[in-house]
């Protein structure tokens, strides 16, 4: 299968801080990939590089076969940020119309997709309210809608479960699995190990900017009853040595 994301020996430093160190990852077509790690492990920096927002100091990044710093590559990427950074004076319909315009979508198509997505994320009754009145969970749902608006091939979700109540989490999980069925590739960073275990095909664990584990979730479950939480604790307590549980 084609690699949708390919990082080779990627390093990013901010002064003396090693944000990402010699990271090599590859993400196959139609895969759900969990990107795990503690706070400050380098997850968000990696995501910023995947989106072309910052450039790596060394190494190569290929997203959907192209350079993510080029706008044409980002046409097929949907991104949902960790915290809902949207314009508080807009309502959700206006927000989607704005992002649809930035994606170059036809206004008619934007309207159709907006109605579809409002139902899908459960915001149809709040469509006319300004985002400043939204709860955190509602903003997250608006974030999912804007990420899916242009029907991207690859979804990059930064901590998508933050602020979601249990019911919304279940809906979100179903939505992710539905998107996988539709052939989308999903890369998401999370602290939620149980959720990652439920929906991911593969996971990578980051520690101090370096990948210390990269493996298939199925193999973890079949490996002497270990679960992701145990693996997570084990690799974070040990010195940073790459543990290969599956295909890197």
């Amino acid at each position: 299968m084609n690699a949708r994301i390919k990082l080779e020996n990627v390093t990013k430093r901010f002064g003396s801080v090693h944000a990402v160190e010699d990271l090599t990852l590859s993400l196959a077509d139609g895969e759900i990939f969990g990107f795990l790690g503690t706070n400050g492990a380098g997850k968000t920096t990696t995501i910023k590089m995947l989106l072309g927002l910052i450039a790596p100091d060394s190494g190569t990044i290929e997203v959907l076969g192209g350079d993510p710093r080029k706008a044409v590559t980002r046409r097929r990427i949907g991104f949902m940020p960790e915290t809902a950074y949207y314009y508080p004076f807009l309502n959700v319909r206006e927000l989607l119309a704005f992002y649809g315009g930035l994606c170059g979508m036809e206004p008619k198509r934007v309207k159709e997709r907006t109605e579809e997505l409002l139902v899908k994320v459960g915001l149809e009754s709040a469509a006319k309210r300004q985002l400043r009145t939204f709860s955190k969970g509602m903003l997250q749902r608006a974030g999912i809608a804007q990420a899916l608006l242009h029907d991207p091939d690859l979804l990059i979700l930064d901590e998508p479960l933050t602020g979601l109540d249990p019911l919304a989490r279940i809906h979100f999980r179903d939505l992710i699995l539905e998107l996988k069925e539709a052939g989308k590739t999903i890369f998401f960073s999370s602290h939620e190990l149980s959720e990652a275990e439920l929906i991911c095909d593969r996971v990578a664990i980051l520690k101090g900017g370096a990948c210390v584990f990269n493996g298939a979730v199925k193999e973890i479950a079949g490996d002497g009853g270990d679960n992701l939480e145990r693996i997570f604790l084990n690799v974070l307590e040990r010195p940073a040595v790459m543990e290969q549980g599956g295909v890197a």
Binding site: I54, I77, F89, Y99, L102, G104, M105, I156
Partner: protein, 258 residues
């Protein structure tokens, strides 16, 4: 695609201004200040009538400077502060397109306000003097548009260097300084000792000449129009200077750390 992106950014600027209600405050204020001026009958004294026009024009210039700087100073800093820049740049839009789209948005809002002020002024003087939108009025409006084009680009460049409040203050000082002293800088340079003399000449050479666009005196005193070739040259100056500001702003935006 690029036109849809520009259109989305212009719409965002208009919605921002409309929802923030800042513009309404200025529009209401202008109505409150200008409408009574239109009603005053200065006993047929020509000088008094001109005085009314001068006050009105001064207010229009102050409001247009406040609105243009207020809008352009807020174009980028809040995007970085509230981090709305991340989902924005994750979309298939280049930074240059984003910058120019935001500039167009700022221009649309500032010029809409300017048009409203001039229409109000035109009607006010028309009611009082019986002369509706004379050619000198149209020329003054055109040059004021050039002024806003230049100021918006200058303010946008500044907004990527300093905070919004510092940008408003600095740009305000430069605009005020150029409007009052811009024409006198060469004469000042002649009487200034070296090395300050070179600084004055440098300011004159590279500073934005906002005073070129000020037609208030001609309009108020109904003097003759400026020659059209000079007028077009002034507008060309605004375009070239604005393009230079936008290029510098683009270079700054590309280097901005995310």
């Amino acid at each position: 695609m690029i036109f849809r992106q520009f259109s989305a950014l212009i719409r965002l600027s208009l919605l921002d201004l409309y929802r923030r209600k800042d513009l309404f405050v200025l529009l209401v204020l202008s109505l409150v200040l200008l409408a009574p001026l239109a009603m005053i009958q200065p006993f047929g004294v020509t000088g008094a009538s001109r005085y009314m026009n001068e006050v009105a024009m001064l207010l229009i210039w102050i409001f247009s400077i406040v609105i243009t700087l207020g809008v352009t100073s807020r174009l980028f800093p809040p995007e970085f502060e509230s981090r709305t820049i991340y989902p924005l740049l994750a979309k298939p839009i280049g930074r240059g397109t984003l910058l120019f789209g935001k500039y167009l948005g700022a221009l649309t809002t500032s010029l809409s306000a300017l048009l409203f002020f001039y229409l109000l002024y035109g009607m006010m003087t028309g009611l009082r003097q019986g002369e509706w939108f004379p050619p000198i009025f149209m020329q003054a409006f055109l040059l004021h548009v050039g002024f806003v084009v230049l100021l918006a680009a200058f303010g946008l460049f500044g907004s990527l260097l300093v905070t919004p409040s510092a940008n408003m203050t600095l740009c305000g000082i430069i605009v005020g300084g150029m409007l009052f002293y811009g024409q006198r800088l060469p004469a000042l340079a002649e009487v200034t000792p070296v090395p300050a003399k070179w600084f004055v000449w440098l300011s004159y050479a590279i500073g934005p000449h906002f005073e070129f666009f000020d037609m208030r005196q001609r309009l108020i005193h109904s003097w003759s129009m400026v020659r059209w070739d000079a007028c077009l040259l002034t507008l060309l100056y605004a375009c070239v200077y604005s393009a230079a500001c936008l290029l510098l702003a683009n270079a700054l935006l590309k280097r901005k750390k995310l």
